[in-house]
């Protein structure tokens, strides 16, 4: 006989630990425990048997892995938090006694924790970190747009703004933006970094206040972690791209509201700066020809001379912006001549990442500069903006090179001669055009998006779930059904006429004959015979055909009903085990729900289309 097993010494009772006992074990406050969990990425677990895990109690508690808590107990940050507690006591005592110099001394030696080791632990390899920066980017962008308050210091917000600018610069520099989606919540961007899709959401530029039911402490703890994580990720990304991190900030330009433009990217090796000017012809020669061709095909209104100037101009600019690594060939001893991300990115890119390269945009003052500057520049275009949107615009509104104007106003009457001239030369498009072009990977026709026009719907580039309703391909079905509906209406009308003409007996004849034809199913012989009979009875071929079609449709519906109805298929689930049956029922439930959703959307669409047609017919 083996040793007696004692209760609570093995299994779930040992594996799991409740939150309160974890806090007790770590000897810290609940707030500190939360902070640690956030920083270390430890989350509660759901034991399979709650009762066993909680020593017989079924009270609602959250459980953690006991090993996770043991891991937390060895965390240096925990020690720092304890030190901070002692520090807080000391400083409050010093302040209470009015010992200012002691307080200052203490404040200078305040314990500060670093998160470097946590970053390394949570993301052992760089790719892990890149995979997980979505939330971090969202948070950084959110805080960059928040006003400062006593809880959220201006320095913090400034740092967030800096990080967002660095990220945007990197994305623009590497041309890694893939998809953009203007949603009601904000703008979704998706970039491809190291073959990972990074998606982030940026709120529209409005001042927001933190609602009262949001715990700012939690958000700030997350932000602490995210700032460190992004710092390290950006450092790695920048150095891999051969750039200096952090990019130096031009404070003069920053104060004029240049935004992203206030930072200037600088290559790691200063010798490389001499390179780009000599490289320009190499880059452009082939592409210039190609794009000229496309431009001439596209529009004849723009004088070709202008375009040429414009083109070279834009390419010059592009080349300046990119620190093309050819320069490093001049000194081979430099280790950066190895194939880095930079050299890979300089390989001939997909044409879709350069779609705006031939164009120069002017952003009118009501469109958000932060969005469109980022979009246009990450797809190779040049963009200028009025002073009211911030400083640092590379050109003014009367620049000859401008090809497109992004404008979000209704059309106004009473243009001056100069404006009319401009309108002739430039294309005025609404902002959605830019986003739709990016998502389509090509330049779309501007006419649909012209100023003041009703825009075509803006669809998500991320796609829907498989089998969901697709508004683009759904058209064919809807068309068919619409035609059917129309036909039905028409045939009803015509039948009424026929009734008047021929009387009821003939009608009945036709119907019976058609029924006969359909009843004999797909047999062509029988159909032929029925046709002949109909002809003999003096029914013209058109009505007969329609009748047959109608009958066929009815039969099909009946068949569907037979297949679906009755629930005979479901009878087999009587013999399934309980678990399998539940799974099956869940799946069926989901399927049914999705189908219902799909059907509802389709139905709405047909209704809308029908209304539209009716209106068109009426007018």
């Amino acid at each position: 006989m083996g040793r007696l097993k004692q209760k609570g010494k093995a299994g779930a009772a040992k594996t799991y630990i409740t939150r309160s006992s974890a806090v007790k074990k770590l000897q810290c406050s609940l707030a500190d425990f939360r902070r640690l969990c956030i920083l270390k990425g430890i989350f509660p677990r759901e034991p399979r048997h709650k009762k066993r895990a909680n020593k017989g109690s079924t009270a609602p508690t959250s459980f953690y892995y006991a090993k996770d808590i043991a891991y937390l107990a060895h965390e240096p940050v925990l020690n720092k938090l304890r030190e901070h507690k002692a520090f807080a006591k000391k400083i409050s005592r010093a302040l209470g006694r009015g010992e200012w110099s002691t307080a200052k001394n203490l404040e200078d030696n305040k314990p500060v924790y670093r998160l470097d080791h946590i970053i390394k632990e949570r993301y052992p390899s760089f790719i892990d970190a890149v995979r997980d920066i979505d939330d971090a980017l969202c948070m950084i962008h959110l805080f960059a747009s928040l006003p400062s308050n006593p809880r959220v210091s201006p320095a913090l917000i400034e740092n967030c703004v800096r990080l967002t600018a660095e990220w945007q610069l990197y994305v623009m520099h590497t041309r890694s933006l893939r998809n953009v989606f203007l949603s009601i919540k904000g703008v979704y961007y998706q970039a491809e970094i190291m073959d990972q899709n990074v998606t982030w959401l940026v709120p529209y530029q409005f001042p927001q206040n933190i609602p009262s039911d949001v715990d700012v402490r939690v958000m700030l703890t997350f932000l602490e972690l995210y700032q460190t994580l992004l710092g390290f990720v950006f450092f790695k990304l920048y150095t891999d791209a051969g750039l200096v991190y952090p990019p130096p900030l031009d404070s003069g330009r920053d104060e004029s509201g240049a935004g992203v433009g206030a930072f200037n990217l600088r290559p790691v090796n200063p010798a490389a700066t001499g390179g780009p000017t000599s490289d320009t012809p190499k880059v452009s020669s082939k592409e210039v020809r190609q794009t000229i061709k496309s431009i001439t095909a596209e529009s004849s209104s723009v004088p070709p001379n202008d375009v040429d100037i414009d083109r070279t101009d834009s390419f010059h600019d592009a080349a300046e912006e990119e620190f093309v690594p050819q320069a490093s060939k001049s000194d081979l001893d430099v280790p950066s001549s190895l194939p880095t991300l930079l050299s890979l990115s300089s390989l001939p890119k997909l044409s879709s990442t350069n779609i705006f390269a031939p164009y120069t945009f002017w952003l009118s003052r009501e469109s958000s500069r932060s969005i469109f500057e980022f979009l246009i520049r990450s797809f190779g275009g040049r963009i200028g903006w009025p002073v009211s949107s911030g400083g640092g615009s590379p050109f003014t509104e009367d620049d000859e090179a401008i090809t497109h104007v992004i404008i979000d106003r209704p059309t106004a009457k009473g243009d001056t001669a100069q404006e009319q001239e401009r309108r002739r030369r430039r294309k005025y498009v609404q902002p959605q055009w830019v986003v739709d072009c990016i998502n389509a990977g090509k330049i779309l026709l501007e006419d649909l998006y012209a100023q003041g026009k009703t825009l075509p719907p803006h669809l998500s580039p991320f796609g829907e779930r498989d089998g969901a309703y697709d508004p683009t391909i759904g058209l064919a079905n809807v068309e068919n059904s619409l035609i059917e509906v129309d036909d039905a209406e028409l045939s009803e009308d015509s039948q009424e006429v026929e009734d008047v003409e021929m009387g009821s007996e003939l009608e009945g004849d036709v119907k019976s004959m058609a029924a006969l034809a359909v009843a004999t199913a797909d047999d062509p012989e029988a159909l032929r015979a029925a046709e002949l009979a109909a002809e003999a009875a003096g029914v013209d071929f058109g009505t007969f055909e329609k009748e047959v079609q109608k009958k066929q449709k009815q039969q099909k519906h009946k068949g569907d009903a037979v297949v679906n109805g009755g629930g005979e298929e479901d009878m087999n689930k009587i013999l399934m085990s309980k678990r399998k049956r539940q799974l099956y029922e869940r799946m069926k439930y989901g399927e049914k729900k999705r189908a219902a959703e799909h059907a509802k959307l389709e139905e709405k669409r047909t209704k809308i289309e029908k209304d539209r047609r009716r209106k068109a017919r009426a007018s």
Partner: protein
Amino acid sequence: MAVTGLGKVRNKRKQEEVEEVEKGPFAGVVDLEMHSEDEAEDEDREGDDASDDGDVDEFPEIDAASDSDEESDEEEEEEEEEEEEEEDDADDLDEEDTLDENSDADSDLHIFPKSKKVVSNITGQTKVVYPEIEPDYDSDSSTEDDPNRVGNIPMHWYDDLPHLGYNINGKRVLRPAKGDELDRFLQTVEDPNSWTTAFDKNTQMDKPLSAEELDIIRRLQAGENPDAEYDPYEPTIEWFTGKGKEEVMPLSSAPEPKRRWLPSKWEKQKIMKIVRAIRQGRIVGSKPSAADKKQQFYAIWNEPPSNQPPPLPAPKPKLPTNSESYNPPEEYLPTEEERKQWENTDPEDRERDYLPHNYSALRLVPAYDQFIKQRFNRQLDLYLAPRIQRVKLNVDPNSLLPKLPSPNSLRPFPNYKSLQFMHTKARVRCLSISPDGAWVASGDESGVISLWEVNVGREVKRWNLGSKVGAIEWCPRLDACFLVAGTEERLHFFIPPNISPAMLTTTQSILAPATLPPTTQSSIKWISTSGAAEDGPILTIELPSASGLSRQLTWHRKGDYLASVSSSETQGSVWMHQISRRHSQAPFKKIKGAVQMVLFHPTKPHFFVATQRYVRLYNLAEQKLLKTLMPGIKWISSMDVHPSGDHIIVGGYDRKLCWFDLELSEKPYKVLRYHSRAIRSLHFHPTYPLFASSSDDGSIQIFHARVYSDLMTDPLIVPLKILRGHDVQEGLGVLQIKWVNKQPWLVSAGADGSVSMWCS
């Protein structure tokens, strides 16, 4: 208060005067030595006084030549006059002067006598001179002015009294008349100077404050010295320093100590100690705090990662779909009722956390008010929500269904209702089908038993028993033909009409033999009526009283034994009746639980008894318990044995159906739950591989049940058809079902009073 303040001022004044007087001779003594400079200084001081009035002069550089005439030009006229007067009679202060003074004081309403500044002829210093007081009758000019002569006593002594004190004659000084609050208020409104009046305790009246007093108040408010003439910035008078004033002789003759010019040895040692500590690194200078705060980034991923697998990344939020667009296709926009429904659901229950909305232009899109809240919720998910790794099943749900032969290949089975027989009065509890499969007898709760044909549904006979019919069972004998019906405490035997005479005679001989077998000891009476009575039962068995409705009857296959179950909970609910011996006995002396149903084994001398929870199998020959089956049903409602005798099915009120393989185990081989209400009846087809179950949900489920003779193959159960056609009344659906012998037809009795015939 003001008055006491005044008093103080007056005192101070006097003190000053005394000091002045005392100072005078001393200054004069010192003056004797130094003439010119002192003069100049004096003039400076006067110049200062003058400059207080307005003009600012350079402070020290005033010509020594400047005399008092010059300064008097700058002063006001009054003072000028006074000055002149002073200069006139500076030597002696006579009466006229004092008179003048008095008149001056009267005109100015001065309480205290006006002082004068006079340059003494003796010392050449200025001094303040007060007028002499003439000790005659009129000398005190304030006699008339001050009516209160009570003296300087604490006035609160008289707070409660009508008078203020006593005058010099010992008469009471009465309190001056005081108006009420309204008067006082009116007075303050009317009198423009009321805000500069104060209450004088001595006179118990409001007195206007003089300009000096107001000035004193102003000074006190400003935190200045209340004395207007006090100059805090008087130039110091150098007595010992300066040219010509040096001390010639040293005060001490001690030699100067060494420490005055040698550096300290101990200080040096202390400093060296610190220097050494700094060199050895024991003392470290404070770090620059600004650099400390700044996070430094470096290539953290340059070292190879550890072998440990990375923690699982958090699941990413779902990507936005078309409906989240600022300009979605029109069909995504919610209708009015969808919007209302969305708004009425709780935020946690909503399928989507937003309502699709259409904006015609990007500039019109407002800020999303839930943005921060949603980010916060995401963070809560990240650190508070337990995560479970789920395997995502990407299978067709239909592939989960068990592979069963198609019902079409398992024909024949009943699938439509061919005819319906109605009991108009009450619900039909029971039915039975004759062994040859031609007749159906159905009994209802009003006591009517109808006999009708299976094929056409024509009723041929009707018996009315008058009390509820609980069970009907046709005798399985083929040479005889009769049926037995159980009612309250009685079992009635009936011979159907239109049977062959040979059969009739055998039946009559069985039920009512000419020679009765010897009677046995039993509490149960067998009563035979004469065979002639066609309308009544030919034989009646009277069960013991209070045994209740006989719920179930079952025949042994040979048709000699009949077992009946009564609804009473007492021990004597099960009876075994032997027709040939006309004898009844209770097989169980004692049985646990209420018996629900009993059955004879189709081949062996075994007997199944279903109590509320268990099914027991007894061997009747050996009289012992063979097996207890545990179906795990809370309350068994029905049971049936497969014709082979190796399998039984048990149904319960808790909707479960259990299939037992008697060879296999005491636990069910399969438990099925498919009815939505309690199972009421089960029946195996005697020849076809079919069985059916009926339930209170009004449906009948037909199964194909093939049992293999080899022990290795599991029985095959295939659901074939759900028959619906009975209405549910008062929670009761189909109460009994029976298969027709030799045909795949089913007859069902429902609580709606109908008996249906289901054909293939």
